[in-house]
Amino acid sequence: MQEMNNEKKPLIVAFCCNWCSYAGADLAGSSRLSYPADVKIIRVPCSCRVNPMFILKAFQRGADGVIICGCHPGDCHYTTGNYYARRRMSLLFSMLDYLGIERERTRVEWVSAAEGAKFSAVMNDFAGKIAELGENKRLEDLRCKD
């Protein structure tokens, strides 16, 4: 037990679109569906607002996993935002994988405002995977670690 406490807890940054996924997270909250406190949510208007820079920045700063949640394709509040996000993230994640960075560290999930349960399940699953992976070493910036 003692050792467990000394372990560095994983850090997960979740970018959630305002209209679906952030509302889904709220619903998970109001339904008291828990997920690890490792997950910290950043509200963005749309999944298409998520710049690859933000994702890399999160890893640089010490995040162990980054997840982007948006409306289901076809349901974007802005009609097409998540379609662009889908392409961007597909390519970006594929590139990170190409550079040898664990592909499980990044994820995109579509979570609607009604899917509080899904939000919680996704976060539990993702946090579990990240905990298995351990600390992010391949996209770390040592200057941010001391």
């Binding site: 700063r61 200057r143 941010c144 670690k145 001391d146």
Partner: protein, 339 residues
């Protein structure tokens, strides 16, 4: 004098590295640069030149200066300069050795740059004569004798052996400490040097004419119309400045860490438009002006301020590395004189 068979040279590296840090040309992913010797690295003393010059060891591309740690509303200032432990820099060519003199004039002049000074004092330089100088070499123009570079220890490869001669006290100390070396007479060293000199004299750029680059005609040179044409293809990248052994410009920048701010300095390049950006205006507005600055500095301003010492050592890295084949040789040929 001492020597070692090239086939055993790994023993030498290991012995030096056992006592202090050893930096020497190492090939990683096909490119050779000065790197720390560690087990398993691919040492490459065959290539004439490293991509980055040896200045990296005294004036690294980026270097921490200080740190500001914040906690709540308080700030703590921490000296982040690393202490320089004695180290050996192995395989320095004549041109790079000469570049240390140039850099010393900048960094060791008052006010002394202590970060540079510490490393400069901690180093023992082992130079290596250039058995096979390349067409892009023109160090001779700047008074360098690539066959006889005078580091703390001078190494010369003669057929399958490397011969060493200590030229300074530091060098003596290093050589005498190394058990893997055997004593020798230095047979063939002078012959090898003579051969190298011959090779150098046959190179295409060794007779470049520098006569026009004098303090007196500064304005005339500055206003020469040829600069426009010379700089036309310049992309404004920093390749020439970053591979150059004598370029010494740097920027001081802050990096925000999770705990506060790290202040570091890093190489800057006069080729960049931001280089001269000031609050009111940017005095160098176009690439021609920036290009002109770089060569005027090396060939006019620097010698004017430093007893005729040029800011170029003729290593030829820019000749090899400029993406669009612009270089100092083309400038000297155009503006230097008619020899």
């Amino acid at each position: 004098m001492k020597k070692i068979a090239l086939s055993n040279i790994d023993l030498l590296y290991k012995e030096i590295a056992g006592a202090q840090e050893l930096y020497l040309p190492v090939k990683v992913a096909g490119a050779t640069n000065f790197k720390k010797f560690e087990d398993g690295v691919e040492v490459d003393i065959k290539s004439l030149q490293t991509v980055k010059s040896a200045k990296d060891l005294f004036f690294p591309q980026s270097e921490d200066m200080m740190e500001f740690k914040t906690s709540g509303k308080s700030i703590e200032v921490i000296d982040a300069r690393k202490k320089a432990e004695p180290f050996v820099l192995f395989g320095v060519r004549g041109c790079d050795l000469k570049s240390f003199e140039v850099l010393d004039k900048v960094f060791l002049a008052e006010p002394v740059d202590t970060m540079y000074q510490a490393k400069r004092e901690a180093v023992t330089v082992v130079t290596l004569a250039c058995n096979n100088p390349e067409t892009s070499c023109f160090c001779k123009v700047f008074g360098v004798d690539a066959s006889n570079p005078k580091g703390d220890v001078q190494a010369t490869i003669v057929s399958d052996e490397m011969h060493f001669e200590a030229l300074t006290e530091k060098g003596e100390k290093l050589l005498s400490s190394l058990k893997c070396l055997e004593d020798c007479e230095g047979k063939g060293v002078e012959e090898e040097k003579a051969q190298i000199k011959e090779k150098i004299d046959a190179l295409p750029f060794v007779n470049l004419d520098l006569t026009n680059f004098k303090g007196e005609n500064l304005m005339e040179l500055f206003n020469r119309p040829e600069w426009e044409e010379l700089s036309k293809a310049c992309l404004g990248c920093g390749t020439c400045t970053f591979v150059c052994p004598t370029c010494q410009c740097f920027d001081i920048r802050d990096f925000q860490t999770n705990a506060g701010v790290k202040r570091f300095r890093c190489w800057d390049s006069c080729m960049y438009s931001e280089f001269t950006k000031m609050a009111a205006e940017n005095p160098r507005k176009n690439q021609m002006q920036r290009y002109r600055q770089r060569f005027m500095h090396k060939l006019c301003y620097f010698p004017s301020n430093n007893d005729g010492e040029y800011g170029c050592v003729g290593c030829g890295r820019c000749v090899k590395k400029c993406p669009q084949s612009l270089n100092i040789v083309k400038v000297i040929k155009k503006l230097g004189g008619n020899k």
